[in-house]
Symmetry: C2
Amino acid sequence: MKRHRSLILTALTLGLAFAAPASDPPLSSAEILQRAAAADWRSPDPEDLLLLDLDSGRVVIELAPAFAPRHVANIRALARERYYDGLFILRAQDNYVVQWGDPAEEAGSRKPVRKAQRTLPAEFLRRWDKALPFTALADADTYAAAAGHVRGFPAAGDPAAGTLWLAHCYGMVGAGRDVAADSGGGTELYVVTGHAPRHLDRNVTLVGRVLSGIERLSSLPRGSGPLGFSENAEQRIPLRALRVAADLPAAQRPRLQVLRTDTPTWAAFVEARRHRREEWFAHPAGRIELCNVPIPVRGTP
Amino acid sequence: MKRHRSLILTALTLGLAFAAPASDPPLSSAEILQRAAAADWRSPDPEDLLLLDLDSGRVVIELAPAFAPRHVANIRALARERYYDGLFILRAQDNYVVQWGDPAEEAGSRKPVRKAQRTLPAEFLRRWDKALPFTALADADTYAAAAGHVRGFPAAGDPAAGTLWLAHCYGMVGAGRDVAADSGGGTELYVVTGHAPRHLDRNVTLVGRVLSGIERLSSLPRGSGPLGFSENAEQRIPLRALRVAADLPAAQRPRLQVLRTDTPTWAAFVEARRHRREEWFAHPAGRIELCNVPIPVRGTP
């Protein structure tokens, strides 16, 4: 948005602040991250990290067993029986999703599933267990009575009904399904690569979030067919492998940490994103919407 | 989100409905579009259509003179003096923006501006003139007291203050600026290619919206430098030409129509997007957020 690169580099996206004139000014979000303690960061369980290897490199996904325990277990099982290896990215629809699966499914010669399940009961929402560390946002959400974060994932909820669900923000990963609610299971997965399609909330089982490498998916050429499907085999991007990080030797696992979403540091970070104090902002919003809150990821120090 | 392509093709994105069992069921959004009258569509003024030609093809932008009259006039003037031709896309940041401008600006040897202006007073917001056809959405907006559409553009407003402004939804085009509010003018333009960065509303002058070809921008490889800037000249995508459609022979102008946003058809279309009635939806949202409302564009019949 800035005209000059030098200024853009110092002002945008991570909230890097210009030197502020006041004494003890509120910290910018970047300063808050810089000063965060080691305990403000968490290292995801290697059982919850999926590693998707494409020719272009690796995409790292964190699974969300607190929301979709059966799907998460099934996706691990599918990965462990090498179900995904050799499948293809079949769809890249602009401002929407990238999706992968078995191109032979339509031809009736689909790849067999062995120990894992092909379908599972839907896990669209869960009970709002007060033991879950839900950190609410202060501002109105168009789609839900409550919106916030749980263990590093964007979530929305209905306190009156006592239900909570993951939200379709950019980078979220879900399990495709047919018309029947229980017809998914994880054999086809999609990643949100556009403006958050929140109307899909509670309609598909979300299973996790991309922590790194999403640009390998979001910048793919859009499929030339309707809804971004590839129209021929040449357009399809092969999945070289999809692994659970726990199955790799420790030295080969990704070393990533995610900012905890249940700490005072997180609250300060969100507040700094609501009130952008960089000089550049003429009208700081003073508000923030669920899918506009970045959830910081860093390399493990 | 659907497991099978055949079903996905019939159910998603444009709201194509399965055959509904009830008599006289509400129409789906696709059915509403199919039945729309000729008068429900408008043909943008060729003076308001910018044609950005890249090696990969054309991007068509509709300008919004009702919101940024001076910037729009200046961008036309810049296009007419061929200011943009031969400049480059300098930035492609994932889930954010694609931006073009003059790479020589940093080196102090910037391309001259002749009759046009290099900078202009900001046009971040305007008076909420009741003569403007603002169609409000029914649901809460996180960032503004009112949200809706004006002449085919997403807009937000503050009725108490009597102000209205364009909203940073996917595909919106803005004029980059420096720290000073009045330091932009249109020599650098950006396009939103990610989740709507609504915190930029009222902070940058938005000038229009991409009507077609955005995938030529959104699928560009992300710049390898900080904030998605290209780090070397080889990464930069050249702008072959940027023209005002009115300056082309009529036969060479794009033949596009945009659904009017001030008609009963529009109201019905939005309502059908709020309440998705396709069988696939287990939990229709019953709500819709400003930047999730598609603004249909079609080839002129």
